[in-house]
């Protein structure tokens, strides 16, 4: 850590949001009456006074350069007095008071490669994580897969219909920073082999008791290897969670051959209609195939196609599957049901079919 300046400012917290709110928002704060979706990517909110605030939402790769800050700032200045925001799914929103500015803004955004959509459309941005761009424990890349999948799903981002919102998320390892565990479709990087052990460095780099106790399945025990204090991993107990690697860098899990991607379906977060749900395993393993991960793109698309053909209006993927039943989901998508789909973790018993409610 470097020297601190004479008068250090600390603990000021974030800037107060009021500084960044458009005047119309301040006036109508808490007094919005309703909203209406004008077209994909565009909506307006109407206040009690009759004020109309237009929102134009554009795609973003999330990983953006400061050049793009300036671009967005310029567009905001040009069309909406400099007011803009980002969404919880990392899209960018321009907040307009002039309806006439909508189409020119869209044209500029298109030109710059930030197409408009998401609002009122079934597919929004893919919530995702760092991948090979920045994280040490990634079993796959994040931004690359997201780009490839979104290129394919672009029509849905721009308004092509699906029965309901379809939230796609990606996390590059089981830590699930993208919190993919409750997404309609989740793309999850996974390791499929136990960590290697650098016996030479281990005792230097890691605290052995912490390492041993980090393992949820108790697969790690202390060991003396060639006279060096180290640890031993019981392969048959390891489920490749990387928890040990998080506390001990001498236990690397990354492996080009056996790392890959799994696909999960049917989660949701909102309380709309049904209660929030976890995503469930659809495909245990697809290979890492950069730069465009065709197997992953194809798998996501297949699920969406089958869903589109079979679900009722308003049915999220998980709601649709619960109605038709999981056996039918596997049948319709052609995804193979394997031993890996059957839960064998702590609460596995709850996932067994404990009734005769079957369809034939």
């Amino acid at each position: 850590m470097s020297e601190a300046p004479a008068k250090r400012i600390t603990d000021i917290g974030p800037p107060h949001y009021e500084k960044f709110l458009p005047p119309m928002v301040k006036e109508n704060y808490g007094k919005w009456k309703f909203h209406e979706i004008v077209k994909p990517g565009v909506m307006f909110h109407q206040g009690e006074t009759g004020d109309k605030l237009f929102t134009v939402r554009a795609a973003s790769p999330r990983l953006i350069a400061v050049d793009t800050f300036r671009l967005f700032a310029d567009l905001a200045d040009k069309y909406c007095d400099g007011y803009l925001r980002f969404t919880s799914r990392n899209n960018v929103e321009f907040l307009l008071t002039e309806e006439a500015n909508i189409d020119p803004l869209i044209a500029d955004l298109d030109k710059e490669g930030f197409p408009v959509g998401s609002i009122g459309a079934p597919v929004s941005n893919i919530v995702h994580t760092q991948g090979w761009v920045h994280c040490h424990s990634a079993a796959t890349d994040a931004s690359g897969i997201v780009k490839a999948v979104m290129d394919d799903l672009m029509p849905y981002f721009q308004g092509k219909e699906l029965p309901a919102k379809t939230r796609v998320a990606l996390a590059c390892c089981l830590n699930m920073c993208g919190a993919v565990h409750c997404s309609d479709i989740a793309i999850l990087g996974i390791h499929t082999k136990p960590p290697a052990t650098n016996h030479d460095n281990l005792a230097k780099q890691c605290e052995i008791p912490t390492t041993v106790s980090s393992c949820p399945t108790g697969a790690i025990r202390t060991a003396d290897v060639d006279g060096k204090k180290s640890v031993e991993i019981q392969d048959d107990l390891c489920m490749y969670c990387a928890n040990c690697y998080t506390v001990c860098p001498a236990l690397p899990l990354n492996n080009p051959e056996t790392d890959g991607v799994s696909i999960w379906v049917g989660g949701k977060v909102s309380n709309a209609r049904s209660e929030p749900k976890f995503s469930k395993l659809a495909i245990p393993f697809l290979p890492n195939n950069p730069p465009r991960w065709p197997e992953v793109v194809e798998a996501v698309r297949n699920i969406i196609d089958v869903y589109a053909a079979g679900a009722r209006k308003y049915e999220r993927i998980g709601e649709w599957i619960e109605r038709i039943g999981w056996p039918k989901f596997f049948k319709l998508t052609g995804i193979e049901f394997t031993r890996y789909h059957i839960d064998d973790f702590k609460h596995a018993g709850w996932t067994y079919k404990r009734s005769t409610h079957l369809k034939f």
């Binding site: 605030l53 400099g82 980002f86 197409p115 780009k147 290129d151 950069p290």
Partner: protein, 398 residues
């Protein structure tokens, strides 16, 4: 130009969706760091493996978090990314900016870092991606001078986030942005100086649609709701019907508690049976709105799977009026109790949700001084393994 060809990454310049590779290209000519990033990433694409490692703790003076240390394991080949830390900057509530604010951030990051960012990180921060150790402190000084501060990392309160609530949503049942800002300020110390057993996240959603995914991604989820009748504008209902909406199949049939009737004329809701799922309101925003007695449900404990499996937050306070200052104070006190109990009983790297699972909800409630309520469970226990307390213990609880 990048040090090496990047044919695989260049594939990702194609296609309609905005390309992160294009973003890297935007800065690479003036940023050697980004040239090396491109190079290392192309290596990763070829070899199908990452090249980062974590290492020594880095940060700014007086802060225990906010910076993620990252080092390349190909330092000789790509020396410019030998250090490639991220700084997490606490975002303004609900990610509102002015063009000036964005430009200020751009200037600072141009000066001190790679010029690359995530807008935003999954927790909500502005993520400044790629900083050398020596640049951390000067960058921090410029940021604070401009009114920005670090966000959280490590075993601390993490950067809270919120949906835009009353700023642009007719359904916000409390002021998410105000509360998010207030909590962030109130708990600056807990945010910057990790002293908890593990991380603790707050997320504020104005209604059960939960647009910041708080029920899945926050240790404490504050989700707006209402207690009284759904507001109905029958004329607007009629307009929807006239407009071609099939109210029975779109709305009535999708109500999870089957408490809506529609007789072709008007809609009738048995509000006592309503579970506040939002669906009918979502489907007819011009005709229906949440009631007037608004507040929130407080839920606790969600997290990602490591290590006992993922959790969703579960109900802690069925209803609280977050528009009332006194109740907000009570809530802060409750949060203090939760943190105290967690400090005392939580294991290292044990999230609050896992602690509850381990010690049992009833013990946890005793510990934080809340009475059990049936709303906290989806059903009472089905196993007969009850730990009965001694009479004295029971009296202690009162």
């Amino acid at each position: 130009m990048a040090k090496r060809d990047t044919p695989m990454l260049d594939e990702l310049l194609k296609g309609p969706y905005p390309s992160f590779v294009k973003e890297l290209y935007k800065v690479q000519e003036r940023k050697p760091m980004v040239q090396d990033l491109l190079g290392q990433l192309e290596d990763s694409y070829e070899e199908r493996i990452g090249h980062w490692k974590h290492g020594g703790i880095v940060g700014v003076m007086g802060y225990g978090g906010g910076v993620i240390g990252r080092y390349s394991d190909l330092q000789e080949k790509y020396p410019a990314v030998a250090h490639f830390h991220t700084m997490r900057i606490n975002q303004p509530a609900a990610w509102f900016y002015t063009s000036d604010a964005l430009r200020t951030l751009a200037d600072i990051w141009e000066k001190h870092g790679s010029g690359l960012t995530n807008m935003h990180g999954s927790t909500g921060d502005i993520v400044l991606l790629g900083c050398k150790t020596d640049d951390l402190e000067p960058c921090f000084a410029d940021l604070t001078a401009a009114g920005f501060d670090l966000g959280g990392s490590g075993s601390c309160m993490r950067t809270p986030s919120c949906c835009l609530g009353k700023a642009r949503c007719e359904w916000a049942c409390y002021d998410t942005m105000k509360l998010c800002y207030e909590f962030t300020q109130e708990f600056q110390d807990e945010l910057h100086r990790p002293a908890f057993p593990y991380k603790f996240k707050f997320k504020f959603s104005g209604c059960p649609n939960d647009c910041v995914a708080s029920i899945a991604r926050a240790d404490m989820s504050l989700i707006g709701t209402w207690k009284d009748e759904i507001q109905v504008d029958q004329a607007a209902v009629a307009d929807y019907a006239k407009g071609g909406m099939d109210i029975v199949s779109d709305v009535v049939m999708n109500c999870p508690s089957k408490c809506i009737k529609y007789n072709g004329n008007g809609i009738e809701i048995d509000d006592h049976e309503c579970v506040h799922c939002m669906h009918c309101i979502n489907a007819m925003p011009k005709a229906l709105a949440p009631g007037k007695e608004r507040g929130a449900t407080i839920l606790l404990g969600s997290k990602a799977p490591i290590m006992e499996g993922a959790l969703l937050s579960s109900v802690l306070v069925p209803f609280i009026d977050l528009n009332d200052e006194d109740e907000i104070e009570d809530l802060k006190e409750l949060i203090g109790n939760i943190w105290d109990f967690w400090d005392e009983h939580g294991r290292n790297r044990e999230r609050v949700g896992e602690l509850i699972q381990r010690v049992g909800m009833a013990t946890f409630l005793d510990g934080i001084g809340l009475d059990p309520e049936p709303e906290m469970v989806s059903a009472p226990r089905d196993n007969p393994y009850i730990f009965f307390q001694d009479e004295e213990e029971e009296e202690d609880d009162e």
